[in-house]
Symmetry: C2
Subunit: 253 residues, 2 copies
Amino acid sequence: MVKVTVIGSGNVAGHLITAFENSDSLELVQVFSREVSKVSHLVGAGAAVDDFRALADADLYVIAVSDDAIAEVSKRLPFAGRLVVHTSGSMPPGILDQKHRRGVFYPLQTFTRNKPVNFREIPICLEVEALSDYATLETVARSISDKVFAIDSNQRKALHLAAVFASNFTNHLYKIASDICAENSLPFDILIPLIAETANKVRLLSPSDAQTGPAKRNDSQTIAAHLELLPDERRRAIYEILTQSIIDDGKKL
Amino acid sequence: MVKVTVIGSGNVAGHLITAFENSDSLELVQVFSREVSKVSHLVGAGAAVDDFRALADADLYVIAVSDDAIAEVSKRLPFAGRLVVHTSGSMPPGILDQKHRRGVFYPLQTFTRNKPVNFREIPICLEVEALSDYATLETVARSISDKVFAIDSNQRKALHLAAVFASNFTNHLYKIASDICAENSLPFDILIPLIAETANKVRLLSPSDAQTGPAKRNDSQTIAAHLELLPDERRRAIYEILTQSIIDDGKKL
């Protein structure tokens, strides 16, 4: 059975630890955190360690820490020649200390503390420097997910950027919508079925085919009325640039 | 039993007709369309009419046509003093001919032809000019949906604007993400679980609390790297304005 150790106690680490713990096809050896109290409830008390020197042998070490801590953490691991990966969407394997066999284990999802996710549906994007390490990484990924992809660094960077548009920016549009609701004594909940269906539609239709609304119809009267309802300059600029982008996309079809 | 007639054969009309047909607590009397073939498969052949003079008595006439056709259609109805509503998010009841008792029946959803929706979960926003008409409209709305709201014209305009941000613009961000995927030989499907979870999160968390990503963390290194990956000027401008908006929102908290 493949032995895995997780280093980190943040959001991604927590969800990964739970997924690894729940898998029958691998062994979660240890979890490292500077504050063991953050992870000891997820693994046995003995398996949570806060001293790098206490790290036992494993086939794979998964560093799930913030991007700017990856290099330093990988350097402090007191061994060499073992398979070490990070979980970042935007960093190459090369950010890890060169004493390791290096790779990336990037779960493409937005994680929320205390909100369980079904890891089997989460795409995991893998990269290794030495092809001989791919099988181990793939075994671990498949033990928790049905969607495993080999993705190189350039693709992963692009994917991370696409994810920012599809998730972070989308959520910010929800935020603007929720502000508009609040300013007009409307419950944000009234938009939830629309938000759900909008996300659901692109399972069946391409985003181009799914596009609806005043911009798609180039309905200048409604667009003008909407701009009048937006006293905030920033919001008006966001409305204008997205509307123009939809209109121009329509011209390309 | 309340008698309802639908006028129109577009996307919204089609979904409304199906919902009315499936409800046991109202009677769909007729459907008017200039092309009866578009609706006769949804209702009995005898119930589909293409001549305004053939319209029978009903308690409610629902005009589900494009915004710019509402006024004209309402004028051509060969009767007066009956309850007539439109389904537009951006028009007041007053756009209907003044010979009618007027109102609005606005289902807040993005409809796709041939993709069934569960109407019981779709918010329906009602407005009437005469309060005495509200009960009839509410009865009809509740016969197909569990989410019925009394919303005045100013609120509905704001809601429609919020819906443009939460749905139309969101879909356009999916489109940009799908372009980025295509340009990097990545399947768009890889983003679907992320899109679904992003939409799902705001059922439990406010959009502010759900925000994640480089802009939220003010991670200037990743933001700079992303901007370098965006050769298209429009896309870069969209990335910049949404990023700045998220950063500035963070400062307000």
